[in-house]
């Protein structure tokens, strides 16, 4: 085990005891060396499968012109292979987001779970109240929730205030991407990092100055 102290303390050099201690020690060093070597050889193969430089580069920030997005309209942008939903929410929609009737039906109305950057942890889950920026992937199993912005008395459920409905297993979200109670999806829709590079210019994939937020850090994509 401990060769140095073993040699210094008791058994005479060359005794049976000293030889087995020495052998155990050598065996452990060899074993550890082999394990480290195997790990060092395995790592390039494992990391080989992680995203490559060009894939990462293709995931750089992109610019979106908001001047052409009408109130009530949603546009979808593909960023890093994911649909990013940008919605110009109407005044009425923003009022609905704050109504207790709706808030009571939500699982996490105050966005306490880490699904958004700190600068979007507010009742509208965005930087500017009117513009919602969301990752349009259901937090249940990754389907694309449908944009159903118009209030409806019956579909997809009674007193629908407008929001998102996932056709796969029926999860519902409001127009800020906040998930309803008692649906399969556990969390709110994630908000990607973004900032306004001009009044009507959105840059998706880049934080506002001073903020650090990585989309991979959210609890559930």
């Amino acid at each position: 085990m401990d060769a140095a102290s073993g040699a210094a303390v008791a058994p005479a050099v060359g005794s049976e005891q000293a030889r087995t201690d020495r052998r155990d020690f050598l065996r452990m060093v060899t074993g550890a060396g082999a394990a480290i070597g195997a790990g060092a050889i395995a790592w390039p193969f494992i990391d080989y499968m992680n995203p490559s430089e060009d894939v990462i580069a293709a995931g750089a920030a992109i610019d979106v012109d908001l001047s052409k997005v009408e109130p009530g309209q949603q546009i979808t942008i593909l960023w890093r292979g994911r649909p990013i939903l940008v919605v110009n929410r109407t005044k009425a929609a923003l009022e609905t987001l704050q109504e207790p009737g709706l808030v009571g039906r939500l699982a996490d109305p105050a966005s306490t779970v880490h699904q958004q950057p700190p600068y979007a942890q507010n009742w509208h889950r965005s930087i500017k109240p009117e513009f919602a920026v969301l990752v349009g992937i259901c937090t249940h199993l990754g389907c694309l929730p449908k944009y159903l912005p118009t209030p409806d008395p019956t579909t997809p459920e009674a007193n629908w205030p407008g929001g998102y409905f996932c056709p796969c297993h029926g999860s519902k979200y409001d127009l800020a991407g906040r998930v309803y109670k008692s649906v399969p999806a556990p969390y709110n829709l994630p908000v990607p990092p973004y900032r306004f590079s001009g009044d009507q210019k959105l840059r998706i994939g880049e934080n506002p100055p001073g903020a650090t937020f990585d989309l991979a850090s959210v609890v559930q994509m």
Partner: protein
């Protein structure tokens, strides 16, 4: 001379090779004179059928790969080209596509055989566990193969299934990114799935070899579940079981041909005729039929991590099955208490399959939960308990007695007819 094998073959060429590398002796020992219980019914065909099926998959797959392009921009079109322009491409692809379904039919019946006749019990525990490894490898292979044609269901199936791993805390998301090789299911994902889809069948070949090695040490189980006691209990594998297997292979090929030529798309999903589109989800994402029971278990649990664990658990529980069943009697024929429950298990797995094909609404949710509960109850609670309380029927003295007319239980003809109906 020292070092040379003593061959019993008389043909000079065979003898020359065999003395230097006794593969002929080995084949003769393992597949020629190999002593095999004389009372097999047709359930014992399905191992051989699975081997034939694996070879069919490998041969058709290698040829498909000659014309398949593993690139998101070309994959869908290259498969359409195989179907329309390549000589007999339609045939090879339909054989490969329906071959996957046939493979699972065969293997599921093979597994049922093991459950019913207690083939997982001492001394065949390791043989059984290797079989579970084969099942898992097969599932991985089929899952990745289904992604290759890059249709809508390929893409969305891959998205849903890879996303399952994100349920695990902390390591989940890095694992998913690693599986994808990017930020979503995309070209790197398709490339590696193709590479692994090509590789895994050969791993299957290797593990199948181990499966057979283990089998030839313990010897086969049989419908009575009792040990071979004398040479009278056995027959040489050839010609008796080579012929019986050939009969099964003919029936299997007829069913296979009926699927390929008359209903090649019966088991497929129409959504896979639409090219993959990351911006549009199909209304219902359903896996291939052979995954439906597991998919139903996944969705029956309201909690995501819980569902994922139960789904993997439903496979992993099979590994410890030999130690969960406390009865020493193998064949369900002599286990009056256990016998009905094995059919309840089959029924609940079939119902789970139906649940998996429907939206989780109304009655399907209830059925899914009840059957999921039964699945785990069966293995984790009923099997340990039944073995303790059951009073097995008297076992026959030997295999040869009932067969050679010395009394004992008659061999029911029904057992032989059943697998054919199913296949």
């Amino acid at each position: 001379m020292a070092g040379l094998h003593k061959s019993e073959f008389t043909n000079p060429v065979i003898r020359w090779v065999d003395t230097r590398m006794p593969v002929f002796t080995m084949m003769q020992k393992e597949y020629g004179s190999f002593p095999t219980p004389r009372n097999f019914n047709y359930f014992w065909n399905f191992g051989a059928l699975a081997m034939v099926n694996l070879m069919i998959m490998i041969i058709t797959g290698i040829f498909l790969a000659m014309n398949y392009a593993p690139n998101t921009a070309m994959a869908f079109d290259s498969v359409q080209r195989i179907m329309r322009d390549v000589n007999y491409g339609w045939l090879l692809r339909y054989v490969h596509q329906n071959g996957a379904s046939m493979f699972f039919i065969v293997v599921y019946i093979h597994i049922f055989r093991g459950l019913y006749y207690g083939s997982y019990k001492y001394p065949r525990e390791l043989l059984w566990m290797i079989g579970v490894v084969l099942l898992i490898l097969m599932m991985a292979t089929a899952f990745m193969g289904y992604v290759l044609p890059w249709g809508q269901m390929s893409y969305w199936g891959a998205t849903v299934i890879t996303n399952l791993f994100s349920a695990f805390p902390i390591v989940g998301d890095p694992i998913v990114t690693w599986l994808w090789g990017g930020f979503s299911v995309d070209n790197p994902t398709l490339n590696r799935f193709f590479s692994l889809h090509y590789l895994l069948p050969f791993v299957l070949v290797g593990v199948t070899f181990l499966h057979v090695v283990a089998l030839h040490i313990t010897g086969s189980n049989n419908p009575l579940g009792i040990d071979v006691k004398s040479p009278q209990d056995t027959l040489p594998f050839h010609p008796y079981y080579t012929i019986k297997d050939s009969v099964g292979i003919c029936v299997y090929l007829m069913v296979f041909a009926a699927l390929v030529f008359f209903a090649p798309n019966f088991l497929g999903d129409p959504n896979n005729f639409i090219p993959a589109n990351p911006l549009q989800t199909p209304a219902d994402i359903v896996p291939e039929w052979y995954f439906l029971p597991f998919y139903a278990i996944l969705r029956s649990v309201p909690n995501k991590l819980g569902g994922v664990c139960m789904m993997f658990g439903s496979l992993l529980v099979l590994f410890v099955l030999p130690w969960l069943d406390t009865s020493k009697v193998r064949s369900a024929r002599f286990r009056p208490l256990y016998r009905p429950f094995i059919f309840v298990l089959v029924v609940s797995v079939v119902i789970l399959g139906m649940v998996g094909a429907h939206r989780p609404e109304g009655i399907w949710v209830v059925l899914g939960r009840v059957c999921t509960a039964y699945y785990f109850l069966h293995f984790l609670v009923l099997l340990p308990i039944i073995g303790k309380f059951e009073r097995p029927l008297p076992l026959p003295e030997s295999i040869s007695k009932p067969v050679l007319g010395g009394g004992g239980g008659p061999l029911p003809a029904g057992a032989a007819a059943k697998p054919m109906e199913k296949a």
